[in-house]
């Protein structure tokens, strides 16, 4: 088996006197499409922030491609929760995507080279927003903004793409299109998707885990009733949530 791209070991996070994450261990492999589900406030965003190095855990380690240094993080692509930054900022789509290359430029002063520009055009093409490149991000629709954010993550050639609640603010057709794009990206990188909405788990996920302070894993792509119950602390009606049948375990019964 190949080495994991992300290894989270025994991580605990305490914020303002509350334990947000406890005994969380997780390994993501290069060909994984990992979905982490859990209720709001269950620590999903916190776990992503720990992986990204934005938050120091009180205990435990995170290794990216075997390394713990900050430099290893440049192999991570991050699609933050929608609207966590200021969309009023005066920046064009092309500038925003180009800025995703900064992590790869180490010579000072940092200047964009031909490679950076070529990668940017490529990412804009991949996300189908080349025609919007010179528009301000605030003038785009929600779905277009979302694609611009993903393009910025792709331009840095990540080994893993981490997505935080990527479809919360987009309509159903846009979400479907979005998961189509993810399916194509899978060939190039591992994907970790975090969401509270178990109804949106796409069909091609390879593994699912439930997070509510602790991480409940199954190492399959099935959401089992006991995982959900452990994470949500209540029996969950799978059918009512619209979870497609293919992620059910055989013995799942409707409540």
């Amino acid at each position: 088996m190949t080495a994991p791209v992300i290894e989270v070991e025994d991580v605990r996070v305490r914020l303002r006197g509350h334990t947000v994450l406890e005994d969380v261990s997780l390994a993501v492999y290069p060909d994984d499409f990992y979905a982490i589900i859990g209720p709001n406030g269950g620590g999903k965003t916190t776990l992503l922030r720990v992986i990204l190095g934005l938050l120091q855990p009180s205990r435990g380690t995170v290794r990216i491609l075997g390394g713990t240094g900050a430099a290893a993080r440049r192999d991570l692509g991050y699609v933050p929760q929608f609207r966590t930054f200021d969309f009023e900022y005066p920046i064009t789509v092309r500038e925003m995507v180009l800025s995703g290359r900064l992590g790869h430029i180490t010579r000072l002063p940092r200047r964009y080279g031909a490679e950076d520009h070529a990668r940017t055009e490529e990412a804009l093409e991949t996300m189908g927003i080349a025609g919007l490149a010179d528009r301000q991000i605030r003038d785009l629709s929600g779905g277009e903004q979302q694609r611009a954010i993903i393009a910025r993550a792709l331009v840095g050639d990540p080994k893993v793409l981490l997505l935080d609640e990527p479809t919360v603010y987009v309509d159903a057709p846009t979400a479907a299109q979005f998961y189509g794009i993810l399916d194509r990206l899978r060939e190039r990188m591992a994907i970790v998707l975090v969401t509270h909405d178990i109804g949106v788990i796409p069909e091609h996920v390879t593994r699912v885990a439930c997070l509510n302070r602790r991480l409940y894993t199954h190492d399959t792509n099935e959401i089992t009733p006991d995982m959900l119950e452990a994470a949500y602390h209540c029996p969950v009606d799978l059918i009512a949530h619209g979870v497609p049948h293919r992620v059910f375990s055989e013995h799942t019964e409707e409540e």
């Binding site: 934005l54 430099a71 005066p90 064009t92 900064l102």
Partner: protein
């Protein structure tokens, strides 16, 4: 009124106005897009502490203000990054404490503080040659730093989390930006005074934002607007024989109101 250009004090005023506008347009752009207006207000009022210290120790008050303001800006930044205190509370504390330090030291300084009033409300018609030189140096520093670190500053002011993931020195860049704000504030003290600094720092950039789509163009237009406002203000204050700082601010505010109104009408169509 062209004969007035023959006087050195008036030429100095114009040069000071242009220099201040360049710093304002560039740094004010970051202040507006990063929403640091109140931070800048705190830094500028803290400058009064430096002026008080300058009087007390017998050094140029503006030099005292430079050191004190930069130190305050760094302290505020460090508190924000480390202590995770509520920033608006820190700003309020620094704002008042700086003024208090200034008042205390001006009081403790024997004798009369001659142009204290001009530090509070500015008097661009009294800017001495030495201050012009200081302003020139500060503008050169600001322009050089921003030209060199334009991409990094953009990344950090746009999305600091992503900049951190990309392993940029986010902390150092944020502190650097605060220092640049502090230096700009010091320059503006001569022009409009501590109390009015915040308006000249933000209004040209805020108007510019309405008509531009990128940081670079926003800066250029803000500089042009700043120069137009200060020169108009200086001219009007000379013609009407009223205080220059207040006139510059009122000209800027009227322009801002006009621009917002025009924008409203345009979007109403």
């Amino acid at each position: 009124m062209l004969e007035i250009l023959g006087f050195e004090f008036f030429r100095n005023a114009l040069i000071a106005g242009v220099l201040a506008s360049i710093a304002c347009g560039i740094i004010g752009t970051y202040v507006v897009v990063r929403r640091m207006v109140s931070v800048s207000g705190g830094i500028s009022h803290a400058a009064f502490g430096g002026i008080g210290l300058g009087y007390f120790f017998g050094i140029d008050p503006l030099l005292g203000a430079t050191g004190f303001t930069v130190a305050t800006a760094l302290g505020m930044g460090a508190l924000q990054l480390r202590a995770r205190q509520q920033m608006d509370t820190i700003i309020g504390a620094v704002w008042a404490a700086g003024m208090a330090v200034g008042i205390l030291f001006v009081y403790l300084t024997p004798g009369f503080a001659p142009d204290l009033f001009s530090y509070l409300f500015g008097n661009i018609l009294l800017v001495p040659r030495g201050d012009i030189l200081l302003m020139g140096v500060l503008v050169a520093i600001i322009v050089a730093v921003v030209a060199l670190l334009y991409r990094e500053l953009q990344a950090v002011t746009f999305d600091p989390d992503y900049a951190t993931v990309m392993n940029l020195p986010v902390e150092r860049l944020s502190l650097l930006l605060l220092v640049l704000i502090a230096l700009t504030v010091v320059m503006l003290i001569r022009v409009v005074g501590i109390i009015l600094v915040i308006a000249l720092l933000t209004l040209p950039a805020a108007i510019s934002r309405l008509y531009t789509t990128r940081i670079r163009s926003m800066m250029v237009l803000a500089v042009v607007l700043g120069i137009a406002f200060t020169l108009t203000g200086i001219g009007l204050s000379y013609l009407l024989d009223v205080p220059s700082g207040a006139t510059i601010i009122l000209v800027s505010t009227l322009a801002y109101a006009g621009a917002l109104g025009a924008e409203r009408l345009r979007q109403g169509d």
